[in-house]
């Protein structure tokens, strides 16, 4: 599937996740956030950068990982990205959401 965001054609999964993180820009992140009903603040962007860094280092993302991140606590994570914080924040960050084998 592909999607047009901020005038750029992007490859995305069927549920709207970027398949190539190198296509990600802050404008694209902001546009995805808007579709998810999230108003981005500096704090949101900090979390997005942290998630991208984790993925780059092959660290499996989990809510527990957030707890030990030193970046924010889980309560704040839920407040910033309501309705499935990991699902929403990874989409905005342009990284894959945690998945299983099937």
């Amino acid at each position: 599937m592909d999607l047009n965001i901020a005038g750029i054609r992007l490859d995305v999964t069927e549920d709207g996740y970027l398949t190539d993180v190198s296509q990600w820009t802050k404008e694209i992140g902001a546009e995805i956030a808007k579709n998810e009903g999230v108003v981005m603040t500096d704090r949101h962007w900090e979390v997005v950068s942290w998630l991208q860094e984790q993925v780059k280092n092959d660290v499996a993302l989990s809510v527990r990982g957030i707890k030990n991140s030193g970046v924010l606590d889980i309560k704040e994570f839920y407040a910033l990205f309501p309705n499935g914080p990991l699902k929403v924040s990874t989409k905005i960050a342009g990284v894959p959401k945690p998945k299983s084998c099937i």
Partner: protein, 410 residues
């Protein structure tokens, strides 16, 4: 004399010992394998033990039986690895190595979740990822009168990520056969966005949950187990009631990895995805569940990886560049209940697809589709595990790298 030391005599470590004993010249190399435990468990059998499909004896054997002659087998606790000094400290001796293979696996860490390993552990809160947990659950189920059964997993990555799904399918079958399905309310609780998370599998398999009357709770990130109210509660304050909780706790690499300062937050060792060399030390290689590679933590992955790793150890000894060959290949049977199973075959890049396996267009096994034949395959796998896999014997027609032949890509 040079030393190759393997840490861990589980699935991956045992396979490496069997591969290398015939490849390394005995006059130049001494192979040592270390594991403190005497028993080798057939871990896929822990799924069947609770339902009385397998007996205790069918899932465990004496580990020594599978270590080849010519390999030095030490049954001692590993205290610490000193990768800068090429040595491993055991409880009462120190081993020097030229090459180290880390195969220390991963295990459940229920203590990571508040209240999980509390007063109700193995009474109404069970795991089935340990022999003890699986056996305790079997004894509980034998005379359980019914109620709310919640099948849950805490977070990814876990060993065999489809096992919780298989468990809930087999539970449906088990209670139906016992004539008490109407007395059991089955709920599957996952931290992920759905019971199925890959597009092809979602399309092909979502109907199963409905057909079997299994409720699904998604995006559930457990914060604690409330042992008073018998609830699991997530960080968003959603609560799920249970009478019987079957959970997969957080999975972590062995504590020796943490003590040695070689792991990530979950004690998994950073490892090159395609060569299986550790990222920090060139004479340290990592195989099986101990590594952080983004492949499934499964015996079949260790099996395919062991073939590449054997080649790479020989290349490393010769001072040649390593093969960047391993593709994350996994091949797993998935029980869906009522004596049926699915087969999936996938790697880092390709999600499980529909098709035929291992012979394109013929099969006889069908990919991503329920069949009785696949169920027989799963049961036959126990024999294959003990008699072929551990001994490092290649499975006929199944190559180390995934093949696209017979698969429907679109």
């Amino acid at each position: 004399m040079k030393n190759l030391v393997i840490l861990g005599a589980g699935t991956a470590g045992t396979m490496m010992a069997n591969h290398l004993v015939s490849k390394l010249p005995k006059t130049e190399w001494k192979i040592t394998i270390v594991d403190q435990y005497k028993t080798h468990y057939y871990q896929p059998g822990f799924l069947f033990l609770p339902f009385d499909t397998y007996t205790e004896d069918q899932v465990k054997k004496v580990g020594k039986k599978f270590i080849p002659k010519g390999v030095n087998y030490i049954q001692k606790k590993i205290e610490q690895i000193f990768p800068e000094e090429n040595k491993v400290e055991l409880e009462d001796e120190t081993l020097q190595y030229d090459i180290l293979i880390v195969a220390t696996g991963c295990k459940i860490a229920p203590q990571e979740t508040e209240g999980m390993k509390g007063e109700n552990w193995h009474k109404t809160v069970f795991d089935f990822y340990t022999f003890e947990g699986s056996l305790a659950l079997r004894n509980k189920l034998r005379d359980w009168k019914g109620g709310k059964m919640v099948v849950h997993f805490t977070e990814m990555p876990i060993k065999c990520p489809v096992a919780p799904l298989e468990f809930v399918f087999l539970a449906d079958s088990y209670f139906t056969k016992k004539g008490m399905r109407d007395k059991v309310d089955l709920t599957y609780v996952t931290p992920l966005g759905g019971a199925f998370t890959k597009p092809k599998a979602t399309a092909a398999l979502s109907h199963l949950m409905k057909e079997k009357n299994i409720k699904v709770v998604t995006d559930f990130n457990i914060e604690r187990v409330d042992n008073e109210k018998n609830q699991i509660i997530d960080y968003g304050e959603t609560a799920v009631d249970f009478d019987l909780l079957v959970t997969v706790p957080t999975n972590m690499g062995d504590e020796v990895i943490e003590r040695s300062g070689m792991g990530d937050d979950l004690n998994f060792v950073p490892t090159h995805h395609n060569t299986l060399q550790s990222l920090d030390h060139e004479n340290v290689f990592v195989i099986g569940d101990a590594s952080n590679i983004p492949a499934s933590k499964a015996g079949s992955v260790a099996h395919f990886a062991s073939e590449t790793l054997t080649d790479n150890i020989l290349l490393y000894i010769d001072g040649k560049p390593l093969k960047e060959e391993f593709d994350g290949h996994a091949n797993c049977f998935i029980e869906t209940g009522n004596n049926k199973a699915l087969l999936i075959d996938f790697n880092y890049k390709f999600e499980p697809l529909e098709g035929t396996f291992p012979i394109a267009g013929i099969g006889p096994l069908k990919l991503l589709k329920e069949s009785i034949f696949n169920h027989w395959g799963k049961l036959a796998f126990r024999w294959i595990y003990w008699n072929m896999l551990l001994k490092g014997i290649p499975i006929p027609m199944v190559s180390r790298n995934m093949s696209l032949k017979g698969k429907k890509i679109n």
